[in-house]
Subunit: 76 residues, 2 copies
């Protein structure tokens, strides 16, 4: 995993958790009041997402930031 | 804690961990190769820090992102 950028790791983790909820990118983005294109860029690792939007996404996933980062994805 | 912005919570958590290391803002910023003024703004909750810089700070603190967010500060 060492070669993955933090943007990609965050995106992969979001995707995993969003799919667990059975929601499309669009449905999830609507749920949290975020534009679908912005959310799609975060999920595909093309955005260096900042704290406020990361918190919004993580709350929408129904977990804490600690739980969000509890994943082998974030272990180098 | 509900009224605190995520920027403030992250800043307070950074400050707590930096002081545990016995380092000044300047010494810590130098250690991780970040400008002192930028780091100071993050630590005082005035910056909406993004993933790449947050990862750099957390690595400098010698912990994982999961450990960073393991704090009552982040529980609403």
């Amino acid at each position: 995993m060492r070669t993955y950028d933090i943007r990609c790791k965050i995106g992969l983790r979001i995707k995993e958790l969003r799919m667990d909820q059975g929601l499309s990118q669009e449905a999830f983005a609507n749920l949290i009041g975020m534009s679908r294109s912005y959310f799609g860029e975060v999920e595909t690792g093309r955005r260096n997402v900042a704290a406020i939007n990361l918190e919004k996404i993580v709350k929408g996933l129904g977990i804490t930031l600690e739980e969000f980062f509890h994943s082998d994805l974030f272990i180098d």
